[in-house]
């Protein structure tokens, strides 16, 4: 049996730039904003001496790893670039954590970023480079479970709308979120249709942004901060393609189911709903968040609807989810998202989350799901 990553690596600094349609901010601006905040958070004053390696995540990188080296003027270092759908940021974090756990490096920087708002379109790109599988948009991929899940469990667009309402509310409590506007269930139901059952408010806000984290060996963490956060688990899983898998049941997403099983084993979690205090999950679409409650084992299959109605996952509920507004309102610069979740969970575990703070949070999970979907990344952080 291989050794677990648990408790070998600590997060000692996090940073995040303001997410949004950052028309007047370049990729360099956002990378520097996020990383220098993380430096300050970790008390790093001489980055070239203190940072041994950099792990970057970007789905639309421009100049590969050199873009980050140039922005930070960090030269002569090993810098890697991960680019793999929506779990990119979590995977960059995983590589960073593993390199520290392996004893190869003492302290590493993880930085995720993307800038989709220079493309000139507000919707998804339309692909014409093939004929099969078109139209092909993330909204279309993630809606695949809708019809059968709705029919099987009696859920509907109203349940999705309540998730959007929750995340819009939480976004108003996060200073760096993109959208800060409360909405109603009616607003969500009446918005223009994107890809049924997803109306405009069922879709995450595509935005620009960058987020960063400093990782070091757990044994030396207190030389940076006296409240370090420990990595309890970090894993990814790649599943069957849901559009081809002959056994797929259209009731939940396999990538999350696979990754959750592995992550809970690493972290020693047997009852996630009772043991976890706060979660950041990949709400690229409202239905994704709904299915993720069940795929993560936070509630039984088919019961998400009841928990949405009773407020289980709201701030103040039994297990708050997406306390900063999630992808829905904080924003979704793809490569940054996983690292932004690490940022939020670290603040929550250190009691620094302000009006959205979950009292006495000790164990926090973050989750990304990406592709058609086929990939999932999960990171679990804790204070004890």
């Amino acid at each position: 049996m291989s050794e677990s990553i648990r408790d070998k690596v600590a997060v000692v600094g996090v940073g995040c730039c303001k997410f949004g349609e950052n028309w007047d901010r370049s990729r360099e601006d956002m990378i520097v904003d996020a990383v220098y905040e993380a430096y300050e958070d970790a008390g790093i004053e001489d980055a070239p001496r203190q940072i041994d390696a950099v792990f970057c995540g970007a789905v639309y990188p421009r100049d590969g790893s050199s873009e980050v080296a140039e922005a930070l003027k960090l030269f002569g270092k090993p810098i890697s670039m991960v680019s793999d759908y929506c779990h990119t940021g979590t995977d960059a974090f995983r590589f960073g954590a593993f390199s520290v756990a392996a004893g190869v490096y003492d302290t590493v920087l993880v930085v995720g970023f993307d800038k989709p708002k220079d493309r000139g379109v507000s919707g998804p790109s339309i692909n014409f480079d093939r004929v099969r599988g078109l139209p092909s948009t993330p909204a279309g991929w993630f809606s695949l479970c809708a019809a059968r899940y709705f029919e099987t469990y009696g859920a509907g667009r109203e349940d999705l709308a309540r998730i959007a309402v929750k995340n819009h509310h939480n976004g108003t409590l996060a200073p760096k979120s993109m959208l800060k506007r409360e909405i109603t269930v009616e607003d969500a139901l009446n918005a223009r249709m994107i890809s049924w059952p997803f109306g405009l408010y069922d879709c995450a806000a595509q935005s620009d942004g960058a987020a960063a984290a400093i990782l070091t060996r757990a044994s030396g963490a207190r030389s940076f901060r006296d409240d370090p956060v420990l990595v309890k688990a970090v894993t990814i899983a790649v599943s069957e393609h849901p559009q081809r898998d002959p056994n797929f049941d259209f009731l939940g997403w396999k990538p999350t189911q696979y990754a959750a099983k592995a992550a809970y084993a690493m972290a020693g979690i047997s009852d996630p709903f009772r043991e976890l205090d706060v979660c950041q999950v990949h709400d690229c679409f409202t239905l994704t968040e709904l299915l993720t409650y069940e795929d993560l084992g936070l509630c039984p299959r088919g019961s998400a609807r009841e928990h949405i109605a009773s407020g289980t996952f709201q701030i103040g509920g039994e297990l708050p989810v997406n306390t900063d507004g999630g992808l829905k309102t904080f924003g979704h610069p793809t490569g940054a998202t996983g690292v932004r979740m690490i940022y939020e969970n670290t603040l929550q575990l250190q009691g620094r989350a302000g009006p959205r703070q979950v009292p006495n949070a000790r164990l926090a999970l973050s989750h990304n799901i990406g592709g058609p979907p086929t990939t999932c990344g999960i990171a679990i952080l804790g204070r004890d």
């Binding site: 998804p124 014409f128 099969r132 139209p135 948009t137 279309g140 059968r148 249709m193 259209f250």
Partner: protein, 473 residues
């Protein structure tokens, strides 16, 4: 001996009520024309007619395919080769296009008989398909309709045998379309009919009677091309034919289907024909061409097919003229549709079995069907153990769907589904259905259609379409 062994037809589901062209509301039962929807063209319609014609006939028996059309979208590159691949015909098939004249459909039908009679081919598939456009709101726009007809011509006794044929060639400029033009032009219609259509048709038909020894009184049904609803009736008296012998030209329901028009009317006549009857068919364009067929007893054994009658029954009228204009790319738009380079020719080449033939693979170890063919089996992880499995003729069912409002379409939303067919999942568009009628487990058949126009060319794949009530075997 050579004869027609089987026939088929295709009329698009979509109909344009003629009232909409002039801005009036459409009335139930009012005149309309059949129009290819924005994912159809002469190629896809020919494929659909061919599938209707072939039924369960072994496709390896087809030695040649002749494709007749004046509106096939490419100037250089054969249409028949695309059709042969979509039908999954064997590599040795002889494929050829005929074009230029509205009577090229009948030319193909005669040459098919010649090829079979000479022993050069066992079976020749003849396809006539046209999707012509008149200028918006012009007279020809209301006149033209889109359709395709198919015949399988083979040796020996079939369902109808050729009793005579006569073509004449004539030079005049009554109808024409220059390279690169979207719309057909016409000289003044009375000139075109009085000096072109009427005398040429009479001359060809009289010559047919004279050469074959057949008498007008023997004719059960005359399937005559006609430039409008009335012109063919004016041929009857000079030829000694009676009105009840004339095959209904389907104006107000289909429209003038160009190269497919006379062949389509011959299919309609064959559908009602009984052994021993004599059928006439005549086409017009740069001269005229008349043929006579004697119906054989084999017609009683022909398996049921959709034909003209089946397609006339299934229709979906457009709700607005604008939807027609969008479908034909005749509306103003900021970017030309599919103006980018689009599909890689090398990828298209590698994936031709999947994309054009809709052929997947069955694992020879465990039997699980896959689309497209992978290297390693999903079911048993066997590597490279496949036999081809054609999905195009199978009935599938809808497992999942979404309505996409972003993909360019004349009538959004585009319906995207996962269907299960022969145990295999296929991510594919659903067409010819309104969004409110989509449901889980809906039975579907598969049709060859255009997906987009990237690179300025038609890029084909298959789509799912609901199986009509009562058609599920």
């Amino acid at each position: 001996m050579s004869g027609i062994r089987a026939f088929g037809a295709y009329i698009p589901l979509t109909r344009l009520p003629l009232a909409l062209i002039s801005g009036r509301p459409a009335k139930d039962g009012g005149p309309e024309k059949a129009i290819a929807s924005d994912d159809e063209d002469a190629i896809t319609m020919a494929v659909a007619a061919a599938i209707d014609c072939l039924g369960s006939i072994d496709r390896d028996e087809v030695d040649a395919v002749l494709f007749a059309s004046t509106s096939y979208p490419l100037r250089e590159k054969q249409g028949a080769a695309v059709i042969a691949k979509a039908l999954d015909l064997r590599r040795e098939v002889h494929s050829a296009d005929l074009s230029g004249s509205l009577r090229c459909g009948l030319t193909a039908l005669e040459w098919a008989h010649d090829a079979v009679a000479s022993g050069r081919a066992r079976n020749v598939l003849v396809l006539a398909s046209d999707c012509r456009m008149g200028a918006p709101r012009g007279a020809l726009e209301a006149n033209f309709g889109d359709a395709a007809a198919a015949f399988l011509v083979g040796a020996g006794d079939g369902i109808a045998t050729l009793r005579g044929s006569q073509a004449i060639s004539n030079e005049m400029q009554d109808l024409w379309r220059l390279e690169g033009e979207d719309f057909t032009h016409s000289w003044e219609d009375r000139f075109a009919i009085q000096e072109g259509y009427t005398p040429n048709m009479i001359e060809a038909l009289r010559a047919l009677f004279a050469r074959s020894g057949l008498e007008p009184g023997q004719v059960s049904r005359a399937a005559l091309f006609t430039p409008d609803a009335r012109a063919s009736a004016s041929l009857l008296r000079p030829l000694g034919l009676k009105p009840e012998q004339l095959q209904d030209p389907l104006f107000g329901r289909v429209g003038n289907a160009g190269a497919a028009f006379a062949p389509l009317l011959l299919v309609a006549a064959l559908e009602k024909a009984r052994a021993g009857e004599l059928l006439l068919v005549a086409g017009y364009g740069d001269g005229a061409h008349a043929m006579a067929f004697e119906v054989l007893p084999g017609i009683a054994q022909l398996p049921p097919r959709r034909g003209v009658a089946g397609h006339l029954d299934r229709r979906r009228p457009l709700r607005s003229y604008d939807a027609y204009l969008r479908g034909r790319r005749l509306d103003a738009r900021e970017w030309p549709a599919g103006g980018d380079v689009g599909l890689s020719a090398t990828i298209r080449f590698r994936e031709r079995d999947a994309d054009i033939s809709f052929v997947g693979a069955a694992c020879t170890a465990c039997g699980l069907v896959h689309f497209p063919r992978p290297r390693v089996c999903y079911g048993c992880r066997a590597k490279d153990q496949w036999r081809p499995h054609r999905l195009s003729g199978s009935v599938g069912r809808v497992l999942s769907y979404t309505f996409d409002y972003f993909f360019p379409a004349a009538e959004p939303p585009t319906i995207m589904t996962i269907t299960e067919v022969d145990g295999c999942r296929v991510n594919i568009q659903l067409v010819d259905v309104r969004a409110e009628d989509v449901r889980l487990d809906l039975p579907v058949e598969y049709v060859f259609r255009k997906i987009h126009d990237a690179g300025g060319k038609a890029n084909y794949f298959w789509k799912a379409r609901p199986v009509a009530q009562g058609e599920i075997a």
